[in-house]
Symmetry: C2
Subunit: 211 residues, 2 copies
């Protein structure tokens, strides 16, 4: 398997965590988003969306981090990254989507670039925008974790939701977000970071990491 | 089952389509987003995220449209809304996420409100923002459909991807987007709209629709 990804991309980190939790080997292919390598012809030929991450597994080319993780969970079921029951699976997917749809799309590189370069937003306003969606979005996650506290986001083992939560916290710190209002979220984050699957795939430990 | 939703919400429409494709009955609960009914205590007690749609099925409370549709597909497998093979499932999920993560979050009501009310963006800039993400995002979908043309987004029957595509086209029209650059997308849209499951659940045909 080959994973096309970028060390700083939150969506890439989600997939690295899932691969590590499953103990799967892969070839790391770096695509440098800040240098716009995703638009180079060689990559555009692989990726219709010109986005990372992208997983190539034999003939299958899978995009979108959540779809990649579900694919890995179906093709390599152990350890499972989704609970066995339909309601539990729905809760884990919803937690993942609360971050992947409601927070992260508003703060990724291309969106922030558009706000500043095209809409001429001041840096201060751009940061206020980013913090607003991260802080309020994490509150939603907090309410759900507090309603049913567990070791991880859901239950006693890491799931898809934890793969998505952890990168979002690194992103929140990059924007200097408040995090003291989400104690359950932060407790789960710290628990995850004690596991090698989360710690060893951290952006700073990637082959393409920059100082 | 009860579906809490809002006629104009694209994410709500996705779920209405899925319920109709499966032939499932449900109680329609209207939550008027423009009147901020999602923040009322009665709804906040049900929904941690104060968002629609939300499905209540016995003890299960499921949020996030994609998680709801996967839940319906697991609890009511016929007709399936995901292909049988892992690579096909991944492709359908990725197409759905190309819209649900890359387009829709940038153009929903609360995001546009924040741009105008908090960041003081002019209406013209707000519309340029919305059109940019819709038009470029649909191009990504177009490239994927063109690479493997089928009756629907994937294969001969409607899937999760079609449930997500159709509401996005209505949304694109609301913003006066270009659509002539995405002929495969529009062909699939027209095909879907000829089916009762898509036509009968159209926002304008909802109980809470306004003139």
């Amino acid at each position: 398997m080959e994973l096309f990804n970028y060390y700083r991309s939150s969506a890439s980190y989600r997939v690295r965590i899932a691969l590590a939790l499953k103990g799967l080997d892969y070839d790391y292919r770096a695509v440098h988003l800040r240098r716009n390598e995703q638009f180079q012809e060689s990559y555009a030929a692989v990726s219709a969306a010109r986005l990372v991450p992208l997983l190539r597994d034999g003939d299958a080319v899978v995009t979108q981090s959540l779809a990649i993780i579900e694919y890995l969970d179906e093709t390599h079921p152990e350890p499972p990254l989704l609970p066995a029951d339909a309601a539990g699976r729905a809760r884990v997917r919803a937690l993942a989507l609360d971050i992947a749809c409601e927070i992260h799309p508003l703060n990724n590189l291309r969106v922030l670039r558009f706000l500043v370069h095209d809409l001429k937003l001041a840096d201060e306003d751009k940061n206020r925008w980013a913090r607003h969606w991260i802080e309020t979005g994490l509150e939603t996650v907090e309410r759900q974790l507090a309603a049913r506290p567990a070791v991880f986001c859901h239950g006693e083992t890491p799931t898809l939701a934890d793969c998505v939560l952890v990168p979002q916290i690194l992103n929140a710190r990059r924007f200097d977000c408040r995090l003291d209002h989400v104690p359950q979220v932060m407790r789960v984050f710290e628990t995850c970071m004690r596991l090698p699957a989360f710690a060893d795939t951290h952006p700073e430990r990637c082959p393409d990491a920059e100082p």
